[in-house]
């Protein structure tokens, strides 16, 4: 395992090289031309990378001296994250063009962030973990602040960056504690040290370190009480950036959390379960209640994210293979629903200006019935109403929690999703039963329509053909937890 083996990391290497190359190319192209060309190229690159990931295969292989691991679990998350990231990049240029901030760097930053995500799910040591998190975060800070002449966007970017730095600090401190008390950075060795019956309990210092690590993940995932950045950033940052931040990085962060908690610390599930349960509880409750008071659609989606992360944590708390499978399915479905919703939000332009208030959707069913239908499907799915995909997502995590004996947690989850249903359904009610507001501009943006329609179709038709996602997630989960 020593030496610089790159084999399993070919997709990452490809992405890195191409992104670097594009940066150079972009600098020499005329500015407007570069911005126009770069988006489709980036989308293609992301999709090609996804194909490369699939080509590498699901076998477990190591690279970079064991700091990098590729297996079925990583492959699943990488493919989903890349596809979702591609979708988020695809919907961006229209908005930027309208706001006169089109820059060729944006898609390239997204590529680098995606590279960080790939590294996150493949990290096999605390060192790789930290580097991957930073690699995926830094471009996000820049993207959030890319609209430099906007006060709100700059504020959002700055808040994101400062709090992100704090979270990185917590993460790094946790990593150092773990290293200090166990003497190793490598996940495999950590796992081996505590495997088998009668193994030594986790040193207290390492446990504190683990809590710091979880705090770092929770920040990335926007879980309570590390969620505070989310509403401000979602509201302030450019909508396409939010669409990117809200979907793909969550997959990577969840993958990272799953791997860290199950591989090196898998033997201590009873220890870390409590912190996960607390975080899950806080996120579900806050996500449900705080969202009711919102009038801004993007801010509402921020609380929606918080709530959904809470539900995913319910599956994580189970600590079983079905729990992991539930989390993977949940996050995949969540990412699609969120992306679709943001595609709809990006269509909310009225007389050349983008609007974000919930009330702006009033009577949409009469001014744009197709968009209203798509958004209604997504809202119903986010609320978890059968037979849409969002229902099954919740079903699997709650089922896993019940099987693991966490019935009360599942009950709380069901109750908060009832509260949460209120604000999703209010949007549907607004669209279908209220007096129509002024119609939105007729945008000729097939990419937005494609993403919105594809997401809506996915949530609506998931019931008919759920096997591919379910079995892929199951296989991925089995890699992590074993049978």
């Amino acid at each position: 395992m020593t030496g610089l083996v790159v084999g399993p990391a070919v997709p990452e290497a490809f992405l890195f090289l191409v992104a670097t190359l594009l940066l150079g190319v972009g600098a020499f192209l005329p500015e407007r031309r570069a911005a126009e060309v770069m988006t489709p190229v980036a989308v293609i690159v992301l999709l090609v990378t996804a194909m490369l990931v699939m080509a590498v295969g699901p076998g477990r292989a190591f690279a970079f001296g064991g700091h990098f691991v590729h297996d079925g679990f990583a492959a699943f998350l990488k493919v989903v994250a890349l596809v979702v990231a591609a979708g988020a990049v695809l919907v961006a240029p229209g908005w930027f063009a309208d706001e006169r901030t089109a820059r060729f760097e944006y898609p390239i930053l997204a590529l680098f962030s995606a590279l960080g995500m790939l590294m996150m799910v493949s990290a096999n040591s605390l060192l790789a973990l930290y580097m991957a998190v930073e690699l995926h975060s830094l471009p996000l800070y820049v993207m959030a602040a890319i609209k430099r002449d906007s006060l709100r966007a700059s504020e959002a970017g700055l808040k994101y960056f400062v709090l992100g730095a704090l979270a990185s600090g917590l993460l790094l401190y946790g990593a150092s504690l773990v290293y200090g008390f166990t003497g190793t950075l490598m996940f495999d060795e950590l796992a081996r040290a505590h495997a088998g019956a009668g193994a030594a309990p986790l040193p207290l210092g390492a446990l504190v370190g683990l809590i710091f690590l979880v705090a770092g993940f929770a920040f990335k995932l926007a879980a309570v009480p590390f969620h505070m950045w989310t509403p401000d950033v979602y509201e302030g940052a450019p909508t396409p950036v939010v669409a990117f931040v809200a979907a793909a990085p969550k997959l990577a962060a969840v993958g990272l959390a799953l791997r860290v908690l199950h591989e090196p610390f898998g033997a201590f599930a009873d220890e870390w379960r409590q912190v996960i349960v607390l975080v899950a509880l806080g996120s579900m409750i806050l996500g449900a209640f705080a969202a009711i008071g919102q009038t801004n659609l993007k801010r509402l989606m921020a609380y929606s994210t918080i709530g959904h992360v809470g539900y995913a944590f319910v599956g994580l708390a189970a600590g079983t293979a079905t729990g992991v499978q539930g989390v993977l399915v949940y996050m995949a479905i969540y990412a699609v629903m969120t992306l679709g919703t943001f595609a709809c939000i990006l269509m909310m332009r009225r007389q050349g200006r983008y609007v974000e208030a919930i009330d702006d959707l009033a009577g949409l069913s009469r001014t744009d019935p197709l968009m209203a239908l798509a958004l209604a499907l997504l809202m119903f799915s986010l609320a978890g109403i059968p037979p849409l995909a969002g229902f099954f997502a919740k079903l699997y995590v709650f089922l896993a929690a019940v099987e693991a004996g966490l019935v009360w947690l599942a009950v709380v989850g069901v109750l908060t999703s009832v509260v949460g249903a209120f604000y999703y359904l209010r949007i549907v009610k607004l669209m279908y039963f209220d007096e129509p507001a002024e119609a939105f501009d007729r945008l000729r943006r097939p990419e937005l329509q494609l993403v919105a329609a594809a997401s809506a179709a996915f949530v609506a038709l998931f019931l008919l053909w759920p096997t591919p996602l379910l079995s892929a997630a199951e296989a991925a989960a089995r890699v992590l937890v074993g049978s």
Binding site: L158, K159, V162, L163, L166, A167, L170, L204, L207, V208, I211, F212, V214, A215, F219, V224, P225, F226, M228, W229, P231, D232, E271, Q274, V275, L278, L286, F289, A290, I292, G293, Q294, V419, F422
Partner: protein, 639 residues
């Protein structure tokens, strides 16, 4: 095939008129239902050839299979159902035709005909059912149709109230029927008539424990079924809905509340004769209720002034006759009276409808009078109906009513003797109120000249059904005489009478005085009516004044409505209001939906305030969070 066509063509007509009535127009909807009903009626006439043959079933399809429980849709054809089909389809067709004239100016024609045809379908389903579940379907179906048609003029508050009353009172009876069906399934492990009837003899005398008390199994079952019959056939004490049901259009009263639906209870008892035969207790109850109702309704009849209400109480009373006959073991006689009654009572109602139509919806007898010259056909046919009702020799009622009185005379069942005398007195009263109705409406001089002035004979579309029914009222008794002839084998296996039940045979040996007693009663009643309302019109006033309490008692219909109102309706409203204001609004809403919503909003406001927008607050929250989590572990998990 014949029977499928018979039963389902009204449904088809109903569906077309109901679903596409607006599309095809009133005229077409009317035509479709009448034609469909005509087809059904022709089939019913053809179906009479199955009378007396071996019973058989026409399977339609399997309705439900749950474990061992299986229900089929199947039409049972035997003498009983053939007679019922003939009555239902035949009279329904005539009334459909009549309604074309009566409802001509109504804006809701497609709806009316759709309901009417749907009723006919449900009634046919009821009488042809092969098992209890299907019977219950028909039973509830006619109930719904009755409700819809009583409240047909739904803009009238009184019609809506009457519809609700009919529905609620019927629920009481239907609940009994449902319990009976459940008990039968529990005891017999089947809902098919054949299985039940085959097993009934073995269960005679067995006991069943209910809530710690022991009952005779068959008696319990029979009485529960009879509770259903009481509700549907408006017997004491569930009769109160029938007079109010006259709020519906008159053809509805004729079809549903006189000729067919209300007789479903009698049909039920006859259909379950194989069960009732083994339970003398239940039969005694049937006799008592029937005779009591016959007397009660006949006593109220003379005190009513609404032409339709008089006939409604008459129906109630005649149904009592039928139950009394069934109760003494003469099921055949009960069905015979059902058969003849259908003709003359439908005739009377349609005649009354013709009068009401002519007088522009005037129903008060005291505002009529002297109509015989204005409406000769109505006048003549109504007299025929009246004579049939009171039992004038050789008319339909003469044969059937005589038979009932004879049966009660010869029977050795409990209460048979009491029933005879009650029914005989009722016969006098029947003749009296029927005569009163005819004299007040058609004889003498118009009491309200301007109303009578514009009266006119109804169009042929209305008078032809009257004439057809008049023929029926004249000949149905003679034509159906073989129904009560024990030698004829008319009923085949459809009605079971035990070997020791020899009522039908014994009826031929009654004394002459008994045989002629109904005729005497008729003469007395009609003579009294003539005396009171033609010869000496001041007499009723004086009598009423002299016997004021009795008169009031009769006018108020024995105070049944008042008692029910005080006993059930008011307490129910009080309870409902208390539950609504106290429990629903005060407890459930306050702490349930409203309380939860308010608490949620309060929580939301508090949570939203956490989000200050200050960076250092956010960082502080993160640090507090991580400290709290670490403390949790250091203090609680690993102290």
């Amino acid at each position: 095939m014949l029977h499928l066509l018979l039963v389902f063509s009204p449904l088809l007509g109903s569906a077309v008129a109901g679903l596409f009535g607006r599309l095809v127009g009133a005229r077409a909807a009317q035509l479709v239902t009448v034609v469909a009903m005509g087809v059904s009626a022709v089939c019913a006439v053809l179906g009479l050839r199955y009378v007396g043959t071996e019973p058989f079933t026409v399977p339609v399809f399997t309705w439900a299979v749950v474990d061992g429980f299986q229900v089929e849709w199947a039409l049972r054809v035997d003498s009983l159902s053939a007679v019922m089909m003939f009555v239902v389809a035949g009279i329904s067709f005539l009334i459909h035709v009549y309604s074309m004239g009566y409802m001509a100016e109504d804006p809701g024609i497609p709806r009316f005909f759709s309901y009417l045809s749907f009723f006919t379908f449900a009634m046919l389903m009821l009488v042809t059912s092969d098992n209890l579940i299907q019977l219950y379907f028909g039973w509830e179906g006619v109930g719904v149709a009755s409700y819809l048609l009583i409240g047909f003029w739904y803009t009238r508050a009184s019609a809506c109230a009457a519809a609700i009353k009919a529905f609620v009172v019927n629920r009481v009876g239907d609940f009994g029927l449902a319990l009976g069906i459940a008990t039968i399934y529990f005891v017999f492990d089947s809902v098919r008539f054949d299985d039940i009837f085959a097993a009934a003899p073995e269960l005679a005398g067995s006991r069943i424990a209910v809530f710690g008390a022991e009952f005779d199994t068959l008696t319990l079952v029979a009485l529960l079924l009879f509770v259903g019959a009481i509700g549907k056939s408006a017997q004491l004490p569930l009769h109160t809905w029938l007079p109010d049901a006259m709020e519906g259009p008159t053809p509805v009263s004729a079809l549903i509340h006189a000729a067919t639906m209300v007789t479903a209870g009698v049909f039920l008892v006859a259909r379950f004769s194989p069960l009732f035969e083994y339970t003398p207790t239940a039969l005694a109850v049937v006799t008592l209720i029937g005779a009591a109702t016959a007397f009660f309704a006949a006593s109220v009849g003379p005190a009513q002034n609404d032409i339709k209400r008089v006939i409604a109480y008459s129906t109630c009373s005649q149904l009592g006759y039928m139950f009394a006959a069934a109760g003494v073991g003469a099921y055949a006689v009960a069905i015979f009276h059902l058969f003849t009654h259908a003709f003359f009572k439908a005739l009377l109602f349609l005649g009354a409808g013709s009068v009401i139509h002519a007088l522009h919806h005037e129903q008060d007898l005291w505002r009529m009078g002297g109509l015989r010259r204005k409406m000769p056909v109505t006048y003549a046919t109504m007299w025929i109906g009246t004579l049939a009702l009171v039992g004038f020799p050789l008319t339909a009622g003469y044969f059937s009513k005589d038979a009932i009185l004879e049966a009660t005379w010869v029977s050795h069942h409990a209460f048979a003797g009491l029933a005879f005398w009650l029914l005989l007195v009722s016969a006098v009263l029947t003749a009296f109120y029927s005569g009163r109705l005819m004299f007040l409406a058609f004889h003498g001089t118009p009491r309200v000249p301007e109303l009578a002035e514009h009266a006119h004979e109804s169009p042929p579309v209305m008078t032809v059904p009257l004439l057809v029914l008049a023929v029926g009222a004249l000949v149905a008794g003679y034509a159906g005489l073989s129904m009560i002839d024990p030698e004829s084998g008319f009923w085949g296996a459809a009605i079971l009478t035990r070997p020791d039940n020899e009522v039908l045979e014994a009826m031929h040996g009654v004394p002459a005085l008994v045989k002629w007693s109904p005729t005497l009663a008729m003469i007395v009643g009609l003579a009294l009516a003539w005396l009171f309302y033609v010869r000496a019109p001041e007499l009723p006033e004086r009598l009423a004044a002299a016997f004021r309490p009795v008169h009031r008692f009769l006018v108020r219909k024995w105070y049944f409505d008042e008692i029910y109102d005080a006993l059930f309706v008011r307490p129910a409203f009080t309870l409902a209001r208390a539950l609504w204001r106290g429990v629903d609004l005060g407890l459930i809403d306050r702490f349930g939906p409203d309380g939860v919503a308010a608490a949620t909003l309060a929580a939301t406001r508090r949570v939203v305030r956490l989000q200050t927008g200050y960076l250092y607050h956010y960082a502080f929250a993160m640090l507090v969070g991580v400290v709290a989590l670490v403390s949790w572990y250091l203090v609680v998990v690993r102290p």
